[in-house]
Every structure is written in C-alpha cells, then in structure tokens.
Amino acid sequence: MDQPGLAPEKQLDATTVEEAIAYLRNEYADAVTLDDREGYGGVIIESKRLVEVARAIRDGLGFDYLSSATAVDYLGAGDHLEMVYHAYRTSGGGALVFKAQTDRERAEIPSLVSVWRGADFQEREAWDLMGIRFMGHPNLKRILMWEGFHGHPLRKDWREAYYEEDQKPFDNRWPGGQVYRVEERNVFGKNVTYPPDIDLGRLMDNSETAVYQSLGLGVDVERIMDKDGFETNELVVNMGPHHPSTHGVFRMVLTVDGETVTSLEPVMGYLHRNHEKIGERNTYLHNIPFTDRLDYISSMGNNHGYVLAVEQLMSLGRKYNPPTYRCEALRVMMVELSRIVNHLWAIGFWLNDIGAFFTPVLYFVQERERILDFFEAVAGSRMMCNYMRFGGLFGDLPERLKSVSNLTNDRVRDYNTMQFLTEMINERIPRTIDELERLLTQNEILIERSVGVGVLTREDAINYSAAGPLLRGSGVAYDIRRADPYSIYPELDFDVAVEDEGDMYARYRVRVSELRESVRILKQILPRLEATAGESIWADGKPGAYAPRVPHGEAYGRVENGKGELGYYVVSAGGRGGSANPWRYHVRAPSFINLTPMGIMSRGYKVADIVGILGSIDIVLGETDR
C-alpha cells in the first residue's frame, strides 16, 4: 500500500503521532481536518465517517488502546458538542487525539463500541451527562444518574438546584453584611428542582425497572420476576449497593443458573457526587482537594495527575517555571508511598473477599497507619493530603516529624524525618512484603481459589481499555511510567511487573511485584532527597500564584496510579491572559473503565468467585462514580 508522507521502509504502526496524523489527513482528506484551535492538538473527524477512520486508527496505525472518550460542551464557542478520544499504542508513545463534533440540539455521534469495547461505559456516561446519542450503541442507558432524571447535567446551560453563579469565587458570599444559605434560594428547601410540567399524580419511580430492562441480560426478566411462572433454573440476584463485599456502594445484578453466573451487569452511580460539574465551577486550585476524594486510598497520585495536566496547559503560556528537581523527587516519593498503601489495601480486601476475613487486613492496616502518620506530619492530613501545587508542593519535608494525633500507641513522635523514611523504606515495608509473601503466595487455599478464576485474555484487556494491574496481569507490559514517562521516572531504575495468565492470582502477583518495585524506586529517591536537601521546591524560590491564569487550550495529563491509568482532560477557555476556571474538567477514572470487562470476566464462575473477581480488579467508588 502506498503510504504518503512516510519513508517506504517504515511500518505504518511504527510512525510517530505527527506522521500518523499526516497519514490520516492524506488518506481521508475529505473526513479528517486538523484541529487548529489555539492550544489544541489532534484531528477532527467528520462524524459520519468516524467508525471507518477509527478502525483505520486501530488496525492500520496500531493505536489499539482507547484510553479516554469524553464529551465537551462548547456553548458559546461554536455551539457544538464534541467527543474527544485519546488513543494510545500498547507499545508505548504519545496519544493520537481525535474528535467528532455534533449539533447541540440533535446530538448524535456513531458509537465506537464496535471498535473499542472500552468505549462502552464512557459513551453511556457521555449520554447520561451530556445528552449525546450514540448511534449503534448496544445499551445506551443512563449510567451514573437514574433513568428518568431530568436533563443532562454536564451541559453548560443545565443548572443544579443550588446554582449560584457560573464560576467561583462567588461574589455573593457576604451580601450587604447578611449571610444566607443557598437552600433559602430554593423553593423546596432542598437540593432539588422539578420540571414545570411535573405531574405528581402520574409519577412513577421507574429507575429500578429501567435498570433491569437496560441490563442486556439476555433473559426475559419479566418472566423470571413473575412469581407464577414455573421457571426456576434462572434467577436474578442483586448484590449491592449495600453489600459487605462491594468495596463501597457498588451494585451488580447477576443472573444465575444454579450457582453459576450466566450474566452480570455492574450498576453504579450510587456515589456520583458531581465531581466534574463542581470542578468546572471551581478555580484550578480549588480542584486539588477535590481530586483527593476521587481515589481516596491514594490521594497523592490523584493530585499528581491533575497537577501534570494543568502544568501542561500552563507551559503554553509565557510565565511558567517547571517544578524543581527536589519537588519532582518528593512527588515521586509520595506517589510511590501511596501506591504501597493502595496495593496493601487492595490485597487485604481481596483476601477478605475470598474468605480470609479481616485478619490479613489488620496486618496491612498497621503498615498503612505508619505511612499515613508520615503524610499527616508532612501534609497535615492523613487521607486527604492536598499536597501538590502547580509548579510545586504545599511544603517541603519538615526537619522532624511530630505527631498531630498524640496517641498513646503512637510511634511517630518527634522523629528525624530522613531517619524515619530510611527505616521505613529499608526495613519496615520490605519486611511487611516478605511476611505477606511468606503467608500468601504459596498458600494452597489462596492458589486453589484464585488460579484460573476471572480470566481476562490479553486481547480483551486491551480492547476493553483495562488499565493498571488488571492490564498487566493479562500479559500487557504497559505502565505509563515507562510507556509515556513523566516526572523523573525515566532516570529511575525499575521494572514493569507483568504476568501472563490473566486470572486473579496473576493480578495478585503483579501487585506484589509492584510493591517491591515501589520500594526499589523509593530506595533510589532517598539519596536524591539527601543530595537536594536545602534546595527550594519552587523554581523561583517562592510559592506560585494563588489563582493561576491558565492559557487557552486542552491538555490530558495521565499518571500510573495504583488502580491504573488516571487521566485528567482539562480544557481552558481563557482569552488573553488565560482563565481562572477550567471550561471542561474530566477524569478518566481507572476504576470506572476497569469495570467494563467485569461482565465477561465473571461469566461461568460461581457466585462466591464474583466477589473475589471484583476485589481483584480493585475499584474505589469515589473514582468509579466521581
């Protein structure tokens, strides 16, 4: 095949992103245009030919991994809705960003589920929150809100009940010396609004029936639910949202034949707390503490991804100083400590799920408490650290760690910080990992329960956009710290943990290896911290602007978090001088997208295994539902 713009010896799937874009523009000249808005990148594809071009991107150009698919409402700036896709190669490299635009009134875009199954939940989310209808989507139902909810809340002209102004800071916080609460604005005294034509006489709560109908369970639910029927071989079982195993308010609806699961549908949104809508009202800085509450087990990692995305945008402007070396080293240290916390927690609760009820957790929580004490002494809070800033950090390490909590069994009282870190990284954490491995890795019961259960094949893992240990447990050595490096990871020596089997046990082994790799990274960080002691964490020696003005453009910052690829898609609509609030703020949540293959992973296994499979994916609901 003739490949325009390429050297003839070069394979099409080994091109750079620029070459790939040039190829697309050449091959599909009438459908692909360059996105030349200021600060934007990638191409805009005419939505009629989206599926065809997407297939070429996947098969021809080798961008086999669809990382993120999200929608943006450009009200007042072209008045269209736009789907933004970020595709990567699992062999590594940057993103091919492509977009499709549609009218706001009749929003329709062809579905890409037939190309990447990983687009499934993300398109449902875009339908739910933005009201874009995806033609050809197999199950286009609301996913985060309930069926029957009024409106599509992420549209810019949709206003929540407690709406005050489009952007913070609100200027009516102290009007005329009088304080009033926002409830007082609302006629119902609560956080609700109703359409003017609401007819309470004919009001029906069909959110539940809609769940069953939308499940695509492949069985006639009406017939099964019919009490007079004689069918007894299939049964619909609800697990959650209140269930001790589901790691929060997550719900699975399964049909079982005897004890074998025939189909499973995740139902979510029980913790949908409108992260993105609030994030678009907030200033950039406001959002950092909100990111803490996404994956609340590893808040440092969340901070990092968001800060990277905004720094990408800020680097487009003139006045921007990248973080100093010490700052980067501290960031990496915090993130790796969070990863250790995350994996200990994940393994502990997975063991909970397969029957080792709470004993292992107690051991791991002990270690976690020690790391949290360190976080508390450095950042001021145990869990919600709110530690990173654009171009810097909240603060440097203190000379000595002083406990805030002052418990009698507190072991962190007035301790030299570097000594504490050295002991923790060189002795305590490795000892815990050794103990964990000694008790578990060769444990016969654990192997019996987990080998060959919940298998996800390599092809499925890529096509379903699985990320993190779920992807690497299926034999794909894809770790963003290596594949698309950021911060100081390129100069650090560590291996990407990978296992080929794709079952629960493989994921467990990936996590254990990652614990060891994290310790390896931390050991390399310590001398770097000592070498840079006394240097500033800010490029010009003083903290950055309180409310930074971010130049016009889009950015996608992603990090390898404990649970997988955490990405932030941020659009700034700033004119001259930049804007103080993001126009669009989207979180590509690994826990959310990792649930897409949950259905195929659990088919054919027993009900008791389902809990373990869910535990081995390792989700956290703050991030799943956002």
Binding site: L144, M145, W146, G148, F149, H150, P153, E160, A161, Y162, Y163, P175, G176, Q178, Y180, V182, E183, R185, V187, F188, K190, N191, V192, T193, Y194, P195, P196, I198, L200, L203, M204, D205, S207, H242, H243, P244, G248, V249, G269, Y270, L271, H272, R273, N274, K277, I278, R281, P289, R293, V361, L362, V365, Q366, E369, R382, M383, M384, S405, N409, G622
Partner: protein, 294 residues
C-alpha cells in the same frame, strides 16, 4: 456515666456484713443503659471516603471494640447503630432509608463527616443530599473531612453519653416500648429529581404555581437577603401584608400555607414545650401522691 462497683456497694440500705461487696443497688434505667451502651453493634456499611477511616477505626490501631462497638454486622436486622460514613447521594438515599427502616429499635444514626452532616464539599452537586438529617433523625454529628479515627471514637462515646441520659421511665426516651409501632420513614421516590413523599403537597403546590406563571425549572429568584430578613421580622410580627416590600409572588415560597415556615416551627416548638411541661407536672404530682401514701 459508668457503673462503678465501689460506688454501687456503698448504699444507704442496711446490708448484712457477710453480703458486703456482693450487693449492688442501682436504678433500672442505669442498668438497662449500661447494657445497651456497651453493646452497640454498628452496621457494616460504608458510603465513601469516611468509610476508610471507619475501617481504620475498627482495625488494629484504634479498635472501637474497646468501647463496646463490638462487631460490625452486615445486616441491618442485627445492627443498633448506622454510621452514615460519607456522601449521601440522591440515588443512594433510597436504599439508606430502606436499611434504616429494617433496623430494629432502639436504633441510632451517627452522621460521620462533613458530607453526611450537611453535604460537605459536594453539597452543591446535583446528585447530593445536603445531609442525612434531611431524611433520617441523626443522633450524633462528627465533623471532619474525613474525621480522624479519634474524632469518630469521640463521636461514638458521645452517643454512649446520650444513651446514658435516656430514662426507661420516660416514654419519649424509649418510644419502642410504646403501644403503637413506629411508622417507617417514607422511602424517597426517584422521579425527575428525588421526591420526598412527606413533601408531596408542597411540591405539587410549587409545581402548579411554577407552571402557571414561571416557565423556568420551578425555582424562583430569592428576594435579596435583606428582604428575607425583613420578611422574617414581618412574619414574626404577623403583619406580613403591609410591612414587606416583597411581591406576592416572591412570598409564595416563604408562606407555603399561609403562614411562614419559621412561624410554624415556632408553633410546633411551643406546643412541644407545653407538652413537656405538662408531662413534668404530671410526674411531679404522681411522685407527690406516692410520697403522701407513704
């Protein structure tokens, strides 16, 4: 207060020498509460970030079993205490109310953290309930985002103190011994937005007026804050009509049924106070009668 054996043994009643230190005198209420407060089983039920700190409180370092919150039970039928640990969303409040209804009396609710107490940082969100107390009676609020395990323990001990203060002799404190069974809390309905069945009438009225003259979303602009205060003052002096600069239209939410809500609340409070006084007088007279008989 706890039962102190030393104190209990020193009674004003004559105790034979051989039985000393073997007889304890206390009130039935105290004994009953002592049993109750030291076996509060929380429900194994986590909502959001706070749930992680709740688990940490239950785990090795803090261990709330030391205070009698023995084990967490996954079923509401075996639980005494619901720790609402995290953001309550509109979608989740439906199961929460159901779970609460399934708990046997006596039952308590502890709102853990800013979200469960009042919406917290996510309050403005369209899917967030501004506090558990919009739907369920909350006994203890624990501030924090999330509260540290120490704070949660303090909240739990505060709940124990609340239990200590309840008297078995007072029907209001122990309504579960009453003749009539308690009405279950009505389960909210998920319509175009969440609907509290207790507010049906008000919503209907508001929706009708909204549909009639304001084709927006049924929310109308609030009069400026100063005017609100004026309305409150006006309502207090019951000369609403002439003292207020607010249009009839703007007042319709202030006066949902002809009287200002705070006036209604004031009324209710006053009635409650009178009832409590009457009860107190009744008890005093009964005591007097008993004393007279003796």
């Amino acid at each position: 207060m706890d039962l102190n054996l030393q104190e209990l043994n020193q009674t004003e009643f004559p105790v034979p020498a051989e039985l000393e230190n073997n007889i304890a005198i206390t009130s039935l209420s105290q004994l009953y509460n002592w049993g109750r407060r030291n076996s509060m089983w929380p429900m194994l039920f986590g909502l959001a970030c706070c749930a992680i700190e709740m688990i940490a409180t239950a785990a090795s370092r803090f261990d709330f079993s030391r205070f009698g919150f023995e084990v967490m039970r996954a079923t509401p039928r075996q639980a005494d205490l619901m720790i609402v640990s995290g953001t309550v969303t509109k979608k989740m409040v439906v199961p929460i109310v159901r779970l609460y209804n399934q708990m046997p009396e006596p039952k308590y609710v502890l709102a853990m953290g800013a979200c469960a107490s009042g919406g917290g940082p996510f309050k403005e969100g369209y899917n967030v309930v501004s506090g558990m107390d919009k739907y369920l009676p909350v006994d203890v609020y624990v501030p924090g985002c999330p509260p540290t395990p120490q704070a949660l323990l303090y909240g739990m001990i505060a709940l124990q103190r609340k239990i200590d203060g309840q008297s078995i002799a007072n029907g209001d404190d122990v309504p579960w011994y009453g003749v009539s069974s308690a009405e279950p809390t009505p389960v909210p309905v998920l319509g175009p937005d969440i609907i509290d069945p207790r507010q049906m009438d008000m919503i209907r009225r508001q929706a009708e007026t909204a549909a009639a003259d304001m084709p927006s979303l049924g929310v109308r602009e609030l009069p400026a804050a100063t005017q609100l205060v004026a309305a409150k003052v006006a309502a207090d002096t019951t000369t609403v009509a002439d003292a207020t600069p607010i249009s009839e239209d703007a007042l319709s939410f202030v006066l949902p049924s002809g009287g200002a809500p705070w006036a209604e609340a004031e009324d209710i409070r006053e009635k409650r106070r009178l009832r409590a006084l009457a009860r107190k007088a009744l008890r005093a007279s009964r005591r007097a009668a008993v004393a007279e008989e003796e």
